[in-house]
């Protein structure tokens, strides 16, 4: 396998910040895989995406995209990538089809070909009946699909998506996921950022968890769950704080790990059913109890903590 992106000791300082936005990260993205950047807001994901897509200059370290240097060969790199931005930046004074046509022309695609491709990518995101619409009349989900369509107009080798489904309803989100999986089957490398654990689990072959500009862990979603947290989670809610305290003192030592968040006690255990039985046998009071398999969200919260960053 060939690396399409390689970063080593990559650092990004912004002039107005006392700490670096990206603080010495190393990663490699293989051709044709889906690689995810997970992390809370302000972790440095977007800055990393901007550096890879030649829209932010690195401060220090090595960054190679398709074997080229983004600070010198940006035109050639940009020729072969597609970018779906976090913020919707469609051209609102021209229509849906024209947005795609204009974008194709930015790449120098000849006019008849540009028209054909506009229709092709609209079909791909199921917006072909909206070709004559004003952009402003599209729903949020449609705008996002149009952004994806736009990013595909140059048939990119690599698609960079910054929070592709933020703000979408479940139907629109599943459609986007379905389209991204189809692109992967077609051999497009996907690099995405997200703070939806389900999205990462659904799409990513490999991912890194970023926090405060650093990469904390790297691996497949399955391996991260297996290696970093116990396989099952029991969540207990208490009616009041004394009850919660009793539950904590009685049960915490029996679990691999535990957390208290608000009125909840979260127990990371090997056997959820056994733990539930132990809780019931103890005769202690609680309001609700549930167990579920551990998820990427548990990994994420374990690594980045429960406190808000911003």
């Amino acid at each position: 396998m060939q690396s399409i992106v390689r970063a080593a000791g990559l650092i990004k300082w912004y002039a107005d910040s006392p700490t670096p936005a990206v603080d010495g990260i190393d990663f490699e993205v293989e051709e044709r895989e889906c690689f995810g950047f997970l992390g809370p807001n302000g972790a440095g994901k977007t800055t990393t995406m901007r550096m890879v897509s030649c829209r932010a200059r690195r401060s220090e370290g090595v960054l190679e995209v398709m074997g080229m240097d983004p600070s010198r060969d940006q035109r050639t790199i940009k020729e072969h990538i597609g970018v779906v931005p976090q913020e919707t930046n469609l051209d609102t004074v021209i229509r849906v089809g024209e947005n795609l046509f204009a974008h194709a022309r930015y790449f120098g695609i000849p006019k008849p070909e540009a028209r054909a491709r506009a229709e092709e990518v609209l079909r791909f995101v199921q917006l072909d009946d909206r070709i004559e619409w004003d952009v402003e009349h599209l729903s949020g989900g449609m705008k996002r699909r149009l952004l994806i369509a736009r990013a595909l107009i140059n048939r990119p080798r690599m698609l960079i998506l910054d929070e592709p489904t933020t703000g979408l309803d479940p139907q629109a989100r599943h459609l986007v996921w379905d389209r991204l999986r189809e692109l992967k089957r077609q051999g497009v490398t996907l690099v995405l950022t997200t703070h939806y654990m389900e999205e990462a689990a659904q799409l990513c072959d490999r991912l890194v968890v970023m926090h405060q500009g650093k990469i904390l862990v790297e691996g497949t979603p399955r391996a991260l769950i297996r290696d970093l947290v116990a396989p099952q989670v029991v969540e207990l809610t208490a009616t009041d704080q004394p009850e919660l305290a009793q539950l904590v003192s009685a049960m915490a030592t029996r679990a691999e790990a535990h957390e208290v968040a608000g009125d909840r006690l979260i127990l990371h255990v090997d056997d959820g059913e056994a733990m539930l039985k132990a809780v019931n046998d103890s005769g202690l009071g609680y309001e609700t109890a549930a167990f579920r398999p551990a998820s990427l969200e548990d990994v994420f919260l374990k690594l980045t903590g429960r406190t808000l960053e911003e």
């Binding site: 002039a15 897509s53 932010a56 024209e98 204009a102 974008h103 120098g108």
Partner: protein
């Protein structure tokens, strides 16, 4: 409404630390220009028609109306005197409108340039493309003015056929100034300063309505620094208002290109800093 953009240059980024001589690609700039043409093509019939009415009314009201009382300026009718200057003014405003509010909006609110610069088009190309579009818009105003003036019989030289080239220099110069201003200001409110402290005084004191000879000597030398003075003088030579002195015309033309060349790298550098962070 006041439109607010993010702060000016990021703190710590000094002008000299990132300054470089721009290397725009004209092929890429053309693609930016083409997008503007596409968006303009939706409303060209609404936008272009007034460009013909405006000179008509101006010449009628000021040239022939006010002109009745002014009699002649240096031996020529007042309408004949002001026509070339007003043509230059319309070119100035045509370019200025385009590269001020429109560019500011595209930069800070529509985020159009963020979408454009993920393609092979770089920020420098965006600026040059907008300059080319500013020239185009400028010509859309000044050339109808020339045409209407000719129909009124206010043009007296075949050199007038060079007005597209002269008009392009007017457009380039005001695009370069406007883009520089647009790239530096933090909010769109500042455009009113550009208008009221820069464009309007120039409009009034650049020999459009009366020759600068009538002003005090110090004001006359000040006028030499007004870009619009050179635009108007250039147009007046090409219209043959007082006959045509091509050496003088060339001097004004070179003055406009010179100012454009001095300003050339400024907006390109600032746009690069804003768009490639």
């Amino acid at each position: 409404m006041s439109i607010r953009g993010p702060g000016s240059l990021p703190p710590g980024v000094t002008f000299t630390s990132v300054w470089r001589w721009p290397r725009p690609s004209f092929r890429m700039a053309y693609r930016m220009w083409e997008r503007n043409l596409l968006s303009y093509s939706h409303r060209w019939h609404i936008n272009l028609v007034p460009n013909f009415f405006e000179p008509f009314f101006y010449l009628l009201a000021i040239g022939f109306g006010l002109g009745k009382f002014v009699a002649t300026i240096k031996g020529v009718d007042y309408a004949r005197y002001i026509a070339p200057g007003l043509a230059a003014v319309s070119g100035m405003y045509g370019a200025s409108f385009e590269v001020s509010w429109n560019v500011f909006f595209k930069l800070h609110f529509a985020k159009l340039y963020d979408a454009v610069t993920v393609t092979p088009i770089d920020p420098e190309d965006v600026v040059v493309g907008e300059m080319m579009w500013g020239i185009t818009r400028s010509l859309m105003y000044s050339l109808p003015f020339v045409l209407i003036s000719a129909l009124f019989g206010l043009v007296h030289s075949w050199w007038v056929l060079l007005t597209p080239i002269a008009g392009a220099a007017v457009g380039l110069c005001f695009s370069a100034m406007g883009l520089t201003f647009s790239s530096l200001i933090p909010t769109s409110d500042f455009f009113s300063f550009y208008w009221t402290l820069f464009l309007v005084p120039m409009f009034l004191f650049s020999s459009i309505f009366f020759p600068i000879d009538s002003m005090p000597a110090w004001a006359q030398s000040l006028a030499w620094f007004s870009p619009l003075f050179h635009c108007a003088a250039l147009f007046r030579e090409l219209f043959g208002t007082f006959g045509t002195n091509m050496a003088a015309a060339l001097g004004h033309f070179v003055w406009l290109l010179g100012l454009s060349a001095v300003l050339w790298p400024v907006p390109q550098n600032i746009f690069r800093q804003r768009l490639v962070t």
